[in-house]
Amino acid sequence: MEFFVISMLNGLSYGLLLFMLSSGLTLIFSMMGVLNFAHASFYMLGAYVGFTIASFTGFWWALVLAPLVVGALGALFERYCLRRVHKFGHVAELLLTFGLAYVVLELVQLVWGRIALEFKPPESLSGPLFTLINRTGDGLSMMMGAAPKELCRSADAAIRVVCSPFPATRGFMMLVALVMLFSVWLLLTRTRIGLVIQAALTHPHMVEALGHNVPRVFMLVFGAGTALAGLAGVIGGSIFLTEPAMAATVGPIIFVVVVVGGMGSLSGAFLASVLIGVLQTFAIAFDYSLATLAGQLGLSLSQGLRDNTYINMTLSQVAPILPFLLLVLMLIFRPRGLLGTREG
């Protein structure tokens, strides 16, 4: 039971991280029609820039400054490069961001090297946020912080105690993601600039005719989207891994999220992020294969079947392809995604 709860929370936190990334992507796509192929590259930049800033000022300042730096870089890119390509169409824009991904990867490797960096979350976040203790007979109980060793051990062989900690870093990830998204929602719906952005989302020409500086709005949105990615990078880079391959690992997954959720739909992206986050987290934890299932059902398999690769493939081995499998299935049965509007 506690395994389920902890895994669920872990999956949720990963899903929220994915949503931080894919929401920026969706915003940029909805507004400008550009699918930012280099979005994961800004994620990576956030981690690396955050690492460098943190080495001078500590983690908390890096958390604030790195996204600003990354957002500024994104805005500059939009202003000087993307805008120029706008007249050639969406394919050209996608190609430009594709090229940017290459360049960012090489520049990162040039400046910071090719091996993984030791980017650690701050001491205050180390240790568990809370611990779930499952004691036979007493059931499930929760304790804030780490559970002392005596509580997790049982002298009595009949009583089984399982302590499942939930890392504070994961909790922090969820907190930041939720706060960020709430603020973005507030910004979009309650402020004037938010209203202008919402209008420019569907009717950029009309908004321009009304006197608003739409190109500047585009630049701000692109910058904001990449800043979100940078923020996710600081968190993801410190909690998971900071290495040159991090963009290539998470990049395709957020594109899957965006397509599965429905291109251009923020709520769809949220649903898809959480779904994929939970799915992957659970799958990795399961070492079950069809063979073990057969064993549990009491079926005996022939020798040939027992040696078969597919039968013996555990769910944890299959976990990496699950998002892409979901993508293919979604495209077969519901091409517009979970909550997408029909694409023109």
Partner: protein, 424 residues
């Protein structure tokens, strides 16, 4: 008029064939033969990619799936022929690759071509990742970490051809390249090829002249997959080993990059791109570790300033030459080349120095580059390089403005000329 057009066609194709026949005599070193062989393979691969991209307007991020799966099936077929008694001559093994590419395109293409534009691109990306991830999970087909090896040598070959020496493999590749290039060119001249262009230009209108847009895309996808598989099959023969990276995202990205660089709007553009691709991967990577960075930057500049690729740049100048005005631009071009060289020298020196700092610390602070000895510990060297870059950039901008102005005048004159001829 028609006969002179046909005559120039015959000349071009004959020249193409001649070049392929004569090239190994000129570049007869081991490296030369390897590079030529890889170029043939790359030409087929990039042309097959351009069926989707340049002709159909479909941006695929997963083309390596079809070349790669073609490679895998071909090497399995080769092994089956060598050990298992499959009656397949080595020369026909690439066709097995082609069939694999075709088959997988039929299978995946249905789902892939359901949507267009950006969504299509994402689907190809996802499918590419799916296949790559699966390659690590199914060792029987993909050979696990070490890949799948084969042996192309035939003991008692026809006419003494054993496919042992590289030059024999090269000629096999050359024959396939010629036939495939001709076939893909012919495709552009068929009803399906024509409608594919129409789908690229205006997919909605196509529906209103009686064609199912999705069906056109699907069929083109299958044809592209077929030729991609042949390229993969030739690669399997050439290298005699196939590893999982042949279906990876890096390779797909490479096809996209170089086909675009060569030029997607002209038929011969991808051929240029393919040649460039092999030169870059085999040769440029030896000169500098920063080659991928330079490539990325050139790609970005191309997208921003010359989206038709090198082929379009060539053709624009050919048009100017046909109107007899190319000579006027020669000085400007020289100026652009010289200033670019200055910027290049300065900029790359800085980048090389940074790389040296990063990776080759153990070798001491001095290294050789462009005939100079650069010392990363001396600030003077850094300053000089930066100065070179800045001066070069400034001069470049000055020459560029003059060039653009001059070019604009010439274009206007040419257009007025064309209008006059049309009205006459």
């Amino acid at each position: 008029m028609a006969s002179s057009f046909n005559r120039s066609r015959w000349i071009v194709w004959t020249a193409f064939a001649l070049v392929m026949v004569v090239a190994p005599k000129v570049f007869n070193s081991g490296l030369g033969l390897t590079v030529l062989s890889q170029m043939g393979i790359a030409i087929i691969a990039c042309l097959s990619y351009n069926i989707l991209f340049g002709q159909g307007g479909m941006l695929s991020f997963g083309h390596a799936v079809y070349t790669g799966l073609g490679s895998f099936l071909a090497i399995h077929a080769l092994n089956a022929a060598t050990h298992g008694g499959l009656p397949l001559p080595v020369a026909l093994v690439p066709l097995a690759g082609g069939l694999a590419g075709l088959g997988f395109a039929v299978l995946f293409g249905y789902v892939t071509t359901r949507k267009a534009g950006t969504t299509f691109a994402m689907i190809t990306l996802g499918l590419g990742e799916l296949v790559f991830a699966m390659s690590l999970m199914v060792p029987e087909f993909f050979g696990g970490e070490g890949g799948v090896s084969g042996n192309r040598m035939v003991r008692d070959g026809l006419w003494g051809i054993t496919f042992g020496p590289q030059v024999q493999v090269y000629y096999l590749i050359a024959i396939y390249t010629f036939v495939c290039v001709a076939a893909m060119y012919a495709f552009t001249r068929t009803p399906l090829g024509g409608m594919l262009n129409a789908v690229r230009d205006n997919p909605e209108r196509v529906e209103f002249v009686g064609y199912d847009t999705q069906r056109v895309r699907y069929l083109a996808f299958i044809i592209s997959g077929f030729f991609a598989g042949i390229a993969g099959g030739l690669a399997a023969l050439n290298f005699e080993i196939v590893t999982a990276e042949v279906v990876g995202a890096a390779r797909s990205g490479g096809y996209l990059l170089f086909t675009f660089l060569g030029g997607a709007t002209f038929f011969f553009g991808p051929i240029l791109g393919a040649v460039l691709m092999v030169l870059a991967l085999v040769l440029f990577s030896e000169f500098t570790q920063a080659w991928l960075l330079y490539l990325g930057l050139i790609f970005l500049l191309m997208v921003m300033f010359a989206p038709g690729g090198i082929a379009s740049l060539i053709m624009m100048n050919v048009r100017v030459a046909m109107f007899g005005r190319l000579r006027e631009l020669l000085l400007s071009y020289l100026g652009l080349a010289a200033t670019t060289a200055l910027m290049f020298a300065g900029g790359t020196s800085i980048i090389e120095m940074v790389y040296h700092l990063q990776l080759n610390q153990s070798e001491g602070p001095v290294f050789a580059y462009l005939g100079m000895n650069l010392d990363v510990s001396k600030p003077v060297h850094w300053l000089l390089a930066a100065l070179l870059l800045a001066v070069g950039a400034g001069l470049f901008e000055w020459v560029r403005r003059g060039f653009v102005h001059h070019w604009g005048l010439i274009q206007a004159a040419i257009e007025a000329d064309i209008r006059r001829r049309e009205a006459a």
